[in-house]
């Protein structure tokens, strides 16, 4: 296994172990997404179009992801543990990739519950919507992890992260909703894939500068 892959694996395993022990992030994300869908179910008029419900799904996913992102660097922030990772001889982008992969796992777990819940409360989920969710998750985690690291260093962390993340997440929402409702979802899925590729590369390259003091 390459050194880079080994470092990413060690760091991601660390994040997954921490979450298994602390059970901080995933339960909060699960509770939030289910609660949001329940509230949407009662808030949406019965005469509303099914397309509106698809939009609400993306709101729930986006804010669930935001919840996960605000907790992504909690240990590193509160216990100043980022220093330990920055001292290590691994490439600093490995920290970003490991954190993004862990977050992807947490978001995936939340969506394994959220998507059936959506199907129960609103309408069925087709393959294009699932593909859109999967592609969107990659983009959310790639961009969100860098922004979460940026926000950690700042003062108004809880305010800064949504301010940075939500505008960058709009293309994800456009692509995700489009993939679920359009007659030709392929172009929206292609758009999401392009977004993921571009922002993953930007995030990978810029992480070192984000964490440098």
């Amino acid at each position: 296994m390459s050194r880079y892959a080994a470092d990413v694996l060690a760091l991601a395993r660390k994040d997954l172990t921490l979450e298994l022990r602390a059970r901080d992030t995933v339960p909060a994300m699960l509770l939030f997404v289910v609660s949001a869908l329940v509230v949407f179910h009662f808030a949406l008029p019965s005469s509303a179009s099914p397309l509106a419900a698809k939009g609400l799904l993306w709101i729930a996913i986006l804010f669930t992801a935001l919840l996960g992102l605000t907790r992504a660097f909690v240990a590193e922030r509160e216990q100043r543990l980022l220093d330990g990772l920055l001292l290590a001889p691994c490439d600093r982008s490995a920290i970003w990739l490991a954190k993004a992969l862990a977050l992807l796992a947490f978001l995936g777990i939340a969506e394994v519950v959220a998507l059936p819940a959506f199907a129960l409360f609103f309408s069925g989920i087709d393959g294009e919507t699932v593909a859109g969710v999967a592609l969107a998750d990659i983009g959310i985690c790639a961009v969100g992890t860098v922004l979460a690291a940026m926000a950690v260093a700042g003062r108004a962390r809880e305010l800064l992260l949504p301010l940075l993340f939500l505008p960058l997440a709009i293309p994800i929402v456009v692509g995700g909703v489009g993939a679920g409702v359009a007659d030709h979802p392929a172009k929206y899925l292609g758009f999401l894939a392009l977004y993921d590729a571009v922002f993953a590369i930007i995030s990978w390259a810029s992480f070192e500068y984000v964490v440098a003091e």
Binding site: R3, A6, D7, A10, L11, K14, T17, L18, R21, A22, A75, Q79, R80, L81, D83, G84, L85, L86, L87, A88, P89, C90, E208, Y209, A212, E213
Partner: protein, 221 residues
């Protein structure tokens, strides 16, 4: 070698060996080194040369810049002025700061295993076991670091610092929270590493303790 020219704020890709200046055999060289936080200059105009196998003792009152200097040398901070060259790979630097840099939810062994993997320590498990035993933490190896006392955390942090057999040690108040036995262990460890040719930069409020090992001093005002 971490070399920061007159473009502060641009981090290097990390420490590594590069061609040294003519005749320079040192480990650390700083010229006009400075670091500010907002409008406040914490380190300013510092010239420093640390030779290989030397023991530099850094003293000074609280807030004088000792910790900032160590963080600059470790690459955790980027200088905002001057030049800094550290002719040691990041993999061969051992840093002990005010924070133990240990995950509370991981056990002692898990913490050291994580760092051991990141530093690619050979025979990692054996080395971890040896260090835990040496610092009296073997019995507590399966306990979460969050349950450790401050002194035990400091011992575990010392294990973390020594794990990858650094050649340059940057230690900030290494005797903090150590009881008499722990302090004696550390005395012996430092003396042994000194004999083996390690280079040290140590910030302390107790210089008398390290006087026998010291080859040079830097006093912050």
């Amino acid at each position: 070698m971490l070399a920061v020219g007159r473009r502060p704020g641009v981090p290097s890709r990390g420490h590594g060996r590069r061609g040294r200046g003519r005749g320079w055999l040192g480990v650390i060289r700083a010229r006009g080194l400075g670091r500010r936080f907002g409008g406040r200059r914490v380190v300013s105009g510092l010239d420093l040369d640390v030779a290989r196998e030397s023991f530099l003792l850094v003293t000074g009152p609280n807030g004088s810049g000792k910790t900032t200097l160590l963080r600059l040398l470790a690459g955790l901070l980027v200088p905002t002025a001057g030049e800094l060259q550290v002719d040691v790979d990041r993999a061969r630097i051992g840093f002990l700061g005010h924070d133990p840099l240990l995950y509370r939810e991981l056990t002692a062994v898990e913490n050291l295993d994580l760092y051991g993997r990141l530093y690619r320590v050979p025979e990692r498990r054996e080395r971890i076991g040896m260090l835990l035993e040496r610092f009296g933490l073997w019995e507590a190896r399966g306990e979460h670091a969050g349950s450790f006392s401050r002194g035990m955390l400091q011992r575990l942090a010392l294990c973390r610092t020594l794990l990858h057999e650094p050649e340059l040690f940057l230690l900030d108040e290494p005797y903090n929270a150590l009881d008499a036995q722990g302090a004696e262990l550390l005395d012996g460890q430092l003396a042994d590493l000194r004999r083996r040719g390690a280079t040290f930069v140590v910030a302390t409020h107790d210089p008398a303790r390290l006087e026998p090992l010291t080859t040079s001093r830097l006093a912050f005002a």
